[in-house]
């Protein structure tokens, strides 16, 4: 008697081999049989017309805080993601001394845009060390978690205030090595570091004060465990990024560790950047290094409000002049009919329809619900205005705290990005799930992979796409026994409709502690998700299953 049999699906097992009609049987949380399965089970699931695949693995998330009150990392799980890697970009919630909590909370608020209540109301701080954090999240998991430990917090633990002031002494480096070793023993799957991130005061995070010998010493500890070094390089400069690729490669070769970096994205204004990065990655892999570039699937949008000057208006001199003024003067100008008339006139005869009509009205704390998600051109027409006038008026009516979004402004050329995603050395990831929550949705990249690059463009086959975000990801990260529908592997399974799997429209929700707002995307085409053999999501609803684990 099996626990579960998923019958009659198109089994795409993560290997990249052609899918086949068959069954998948589960017992004791593991895949028990794949093929034509006889016998019975306590629960049988008909997957006719559906794909049965290993659960997806998201290797770049910031769900560290959310996991303390939401063990499903919603909505990641409903998108078919059964394993997430939090703790990226040098930041994790452990190890962390009680006295240092405010500092790290500030850093998390900067990156994740979590409301303060997320740290004061939603959970009890019961830990300082990594094992304590692991135990705190493990109590309520519906999704699997493979956590990184952050370089910045290790530095803070050892150096205190000096972590954000100077390089470390040899004794401090040795102490950091000991701390990292304890974290890896407690279940961390690697170390994350960043050369880019800032705290809430605009200061570099602690990891940015490390010199190369410190990173080398910490990588030596990673080498003892064969664990991952994750890095955010200076991605805004391709030459520095390539230099970081070389550094990571040296560490990989010297210590026998995998390394990964992100983001890597493709913009038409810098069309050579991503190809140059991939060319360097190829060279370094040819030397034997493991330096995996993470590339996201989703396009990048530009969002802005009139609260802060944005380069979105850089081709409109008068707008730049007005919006760069201090708030009081800016408001005065925006309330001056003569100034506004000239600003609108600058947009030409269509009143900004071409440039602004397609802007989507977003959240912002003051955004009126009846406008959110709608095109500015449509709202302007209802108001009997041209879009430029409507943009100004709507902003003024709500204290300027209304955000507008220009969709698909970067990383949007499917015909260029598809082949890159299919590249054997490109690691699909960099979703940033759980970060930037008040700016844009970081969920649903896996659905977009299938809808845009499998179904629409054919850049990847179904089997390729599945392999990329399952077995390949598990192999890159050394996640034993995951990512494949193979007997003995964990029964992390997603059942989806290959004709409809997608990400839904971006929408604001107020489900963060303190009724904080974030943007999410619902899943499309996902029927059922099993985590370690238990149904965690089905028929559009989460179940009571708490079968997720901290996995290594």
């Amino acid at each position: 008697m099996f626990d579960v049999i998923v019958r009659n699906g198109l089994v795409v097992d993560g290997s990249g081999e052609a899918g086949f009609r068959g069954d998948v049987a589960v017992k004791n949380g593991l895949i028990a049989a794949v093929g034509t399965v006889s016998g019975s089970a306590r629960r049988e699931i008909d997957a006719g017309g559906r794909v049965v695949a290993p659960g997806f693995i998201d290797p770049h998330t910031h769900f560290d805080v959310q996991l303390l009150w939401d063990g499903a990392a919603r909505p990641a799980l409903e998108h078919g993601v059964t394993c997430i890697v939090p703790g990226n970009c040098s930041l994790s919630l452990a190890p962390l001394k009680a006295a240092d909590r405010p500092k790290v909370v500030g850093m998390f608020q900067q990156i994740e845009e979590m409301p303060p209540e997320a740290f004061t109301q939603a959970f009890d701080w019961t830990w300082e060390d990594f094992a304590g954090y692991r135990d705190a999240i493990a109590r309520n998991l519906s999704i699997n978690v493979a956590p990184l430990v952050g370089h910045s917090v290790i530095r803070l633990w050892v150096m205190g205030e000096a972590a954000q002031q100077r390089t470390a002494t040899p004794d401090e480096v040795a102490a950091m090595q000991d701390v990292l070793r304890e974290c890896l023993k407690a279940g961390a799957v690697g170390l994350s570091t960043s050369f880019v991130d800032l705290d809430e005061h605009g200061r570099p995070v602690p990891s940015r004060f490390a010199d190369f010998p410190e990173l080398d010493a910490l990588s030596a500890v990673l080498g003892e465990f064969g664990r991952m070094l994750q890095c955010v390089p200076e991605f805004y400069d391709v030459d520095i990024t390539i230099a970081r690729i070389d550094q990571l490669s040296e560490l990989s070769l010297k210590h026998g560790i995998p390394t990964t970096f992100s983001p890597v994205f493709d913009n038409t204004s810098t069309p050579d950047n991503a190809p140059r990065i991939l060319a360097r990655v190829e060279e370094q892999f040819a030397r034997g290094a493991r330096v995996w570039p993470q590339m996201q699937t989703r396009p990048i949008d530009i969002s802005f409000s009139l609260l802060r000057p944005s380069l979105f208006f850089a081709r409109l001199p008068r707008w730049v002049r007005v919006l760069r003024q201090p708030l009081e003067a800016r408001l005065h100008a925006l309330n001056d009919p003569e100034t506004v008339a000239k600003m609108v006139e600058d947009l030409g005869a269509d009143g900004g329809q071409r440039m602004m009509g397609g802007l989507i009205v977003r959240g912002g704390d003051a955004a009126p619900a009846q406008m959110v998600g709608r095109a500015l051109g449509e709202i302007a027409a209802e108001r009997g205005q041209v879009p430029a006038q409507a943009l100004i008026d709507i902003s003024l009516e709500h204290g300027l705290d209304v955000a507008f979004l220009a969709a698909d402004m970067g990383h949007e050329a499917t015909d260029r990005i598809g082949p890159m995603l299919a590249h054997p050395l490109v690691h699909i990831g960099a979703s940033d799930g759980g970060a930037h929550i008040a700016s844009f949705s970081t969920y649903g990249d896996t659905g977009y992979l299938f809808s845009e690059f499998v179904r629409k463009s054919g850049g990847l086959s179904l089997e390729q796409a599945v392999r990329k975000i399952t077995a390949e990801t598990a192999d890159i990260w050394g996640l034993e026994g995951r990512g494949r529908l193979t007997p003995g592997h964990a029964a992390d399974i997603v059942i989806f409709d290959p004709d409809t799997i997608d990400r839904g429209e971006e929408r604001p929700v107020f489900d963060m502690p303190g009724e904080g707002m974030r943007y999410v995307r619902d899943a499309r085409g996902i029927d059922t998700v099993l985590v370690n053999g238990e149904v965690a999501y089905t028929a559009g609803a989460y179940t009571e299953a708490r079968s997720g684990v901290v996995c290594t």
Binding site: D237, N267, S269, T270, L311, A314, V320, M409, G410, H436
Partner: protein, 73 residues
């Protein structure tokens, strides 16, 4: 040909965090070109330093204006 790098062109691009960024093409003596990406505030400071009311007016200015822009906060 100029004996030092000049701004050859500028475009707006979408940054990783959803903000608009300024992508500058710098042309070096000898004709090679490189790219510098500035976040919003630095980009606007550069425009001010160059007296540029429009993105297209950045072209032709010395790369040194980048330093002025960066130092003007």
């Amino acid at each position: 040909m100029s004996e030092e790098a000049v701004i050859a062109g500028a475009e707006i691009a979408a940054g990783h965090d959803g903000a608009a960024e300024l992508v500058l093409r710098l042309r070096y003596p000898g004709g090679t070109e490189g790219v510098v990406v500035l976040e919003a505030e630095k980009g606007l400071e550069l425009m001010a330093a160059c007296g540029a009311a429009h993105l297209d007016e950045l072209a032709g200015h010395s790369w040194r204006k980048l330093l002025e822009g960066a130092c003007s906060t």
